[in-house]
Amino acid sequence: MASDEDPVGRRGFLKSAAASAAAMAAGTPVGHEHESHDHDHDHQAVPSDLNLRVKALESLLVEKGLVDRAALDAIVDTYETKIGPRNGARVVARAWVDPAYKKRLITDATAAIAELGYAGGQGEDMVVLENTPKIHNLVVCTLCSCYPWPILGLPPVWYKSAPYRSRAVIDPRGVLREFGLELPDEVEVRVWDSTAELRYLVLPERPAGSEQLNEEQLAGLVTRDSMVGVAKVSSAGLPGDKP
C-alpha cells in the first residue's frame, strides 16, 4: 500500500538500499559511492514511508489545532520562491557598482544588507568577507548547517553533508579543486567555520570584462556557490563575451 501511495520515496529507498549494499561489497563508504549525479534526492537511505509519516504528523497537528496548513504552504513557498541566493546576488552586485555601499557592507553587513530589504532569522548578525586576488574566503559549518537564510535561502545538500563539513577545514584547497576551482599557492585561503551566530557572506571578485554591465546584469552573474566561496563568479557567458 505504501509503495502505491508513495512511489518516489519507495523507489528512492530501494535505489539507496541497493547502492548501499553494492558500496559495502566494494568497501567504499556507504552513501557516498555515486559517481554520477543523476539521482534525484539526498543519497542516504530514505525509509519508504516518510511522505506518509509526515502527512500523518501534519494531520495530527492540524486536528489538534496547533498547525494551520496554509501557514505551512506559505513557509514552503517563501523558501522555494522568495528567499534564495538571488537576494545575496543583489547585495553583491550593489557592492560592485557602489563603493560607498561596499564600504558599509564590509563594516556593518547586517545594516547594509537590510538597506536592500533583506533581514530575518539566521541573518541577524551578518559578516561579509571580501575575496581579492590575494585572499580567498570559504564558509562552512562543521558542527551543523549554519547558513545565512535571508540572503542565500536554505543551504544545499552538499553544504550540510558530512563530506563538505569534514573536509573544508582540513583540506580547503582539495575541496575547492573538487568544485573546479584551482587556487594558486600564493593565494591565502581563509576558511570560516560558523561556530557561533555570526552568518557569513562571501563577496566574490567582480569578473574581468564585466565593466559594461549594469547592476541587474551583474546580479545575474552571481551564483550561490560564489557567495559561499566554493566558486568564483565566472566571466564566461557575459553579454560582451558572446561570439
Binding site: G9, K55, L60, A74, E80, V169, V189, E197
Partner: protein, 220 residues
C-alpha cells in the same frame, strides 16, 4: 559533547556531491518538516535554538550518519513534541488525537508568515560585559570535553590562535542549551594557522577562523 556531528577534519566521508540546479526541497515531506518545525518553534514552550541543535547531536551516531538532513529534523520534531507534551507517542503513531484531548489555536497563520520569516531573533545581548581579550592577542582554545552542548569543535581544542575580531556580546550556547542561563559574553573570530591545527601537511597559506566565546579561551 564529543559527538559524530563534530566532524571537522574527519576522513572517509567521501566526495562532495554537487547537484546542479538543486531544488530547495527534494520531496514534499522535507518542506513540510521544515515548515512544521518553524511553526511549532514559534508556538513557544521550553525550547531554544541551542537546545534544538543539541537534540540533533543526541541522535545515536549511526542514526545521525544514516539519516538525511530533514530526517534528523523530523526525529527532533517528534522528540520535541513528545517532550513538551504537545502530542503523545501514541497520537504520533496513529496520526489522530487521543479521544477527549484539547484543541488549541494555531500560533502561526498564513498571514503571519512574512513577519515570522523576517523577524530577527538575535543571540546578541546588550549586557555590559567586558571582553577578556583584545584584537591581535594570542589565545589558546581550552581543552574541554563537556558532555553537553558546546560550539567548540574538537579540532581546535588546545590549539593557539590570534583574536582577529571582537563580535560583541552574545549568549553562551553551552549553558543556554541546557536552560542554565544565557551567561552573555564576548564572541571573537579567532584565526588559526592551518599548520597549527593539522600539522606540516597543511598549506602555510591556509587559515581557519572560528567564532569563540570568552569561556572557550585562555591567554597563550
Amino acid at each position: 559533547m564529543n559527538g559524530v556531528h563534530d566532524m571537522g577534519g574527519m576522513h572517509g566521508m567521501g566526495r562532495i556531491e554537487h547537484e546542479k540546479d538543486e531544488p530547495v526541497f527534494h520531496e514534499p515531506w522535507e518542506g513540510r518538516v521544515y515548515a512544521l518545525t518553524r511553526v511549532v518553534r514559534a508556538g513557544g514552550g521550553r525550547q531554544n535554538l541551542d537546545n534544538s541543535r543539541h537534540q540533533i547531536e543526541l541522535l545515536p551516531p549511526a542514526e545521525y550518519l544514516r539519516m538525511s538532513y530533514y530526517e534528523r529534523w523530523l526525529a527532533r520534531l517528534i522528540k520535541q513534541l513528545i517532550a513538551n507534551g504537545i502530542a503523545t507517542r501514541e497520537e504520533i503513531e496513529s496520526g489522530t488525537p487521543a479521544p477527549g484531548s484539547s484543541k488549541t489555536t494555531p500560533a502561526v497563520t498564513a498571514a503571519m508568515v512574512p513577519a515570522m520569516v523576517a523577524r530577527r531573533n538575535s543571540a546578541r545581548r546588550d549586557a555590559a560585559v567586558s571582553p577578556r581579550f583584545k584584537v591581535g592577542q594570542r589565545v589558546r582554545a581550552r581543552n574541554i570535553n563537556p558532555d553537553g552542548h558546546t560550539r567548540l569543535p574538537r579540532y581546535a581544542r588546545g590549539k593557539a590562535g590570534v583574536i582577529a575580531r571582537d563580535h560583541g556580546v552574545f549568549l553562551f550556547p553551552d549553558t543556554n542549551a541546557e536552560f542554565l542561563g544565557e551567561k552573555p559574553q564576548h564572541v571573537y573570530s579567532v584565526r588559526f594557522a592551518a599548520r597549527e591545527l593539522w600539522g606540516e601537511r597543511a598549506s602555510s597559506r591556509d587559515f581557519i577562523y572560528l567564532d569563540m566565546w570568552d569561556d572557550y579561551l585562555d591567554r597563550a
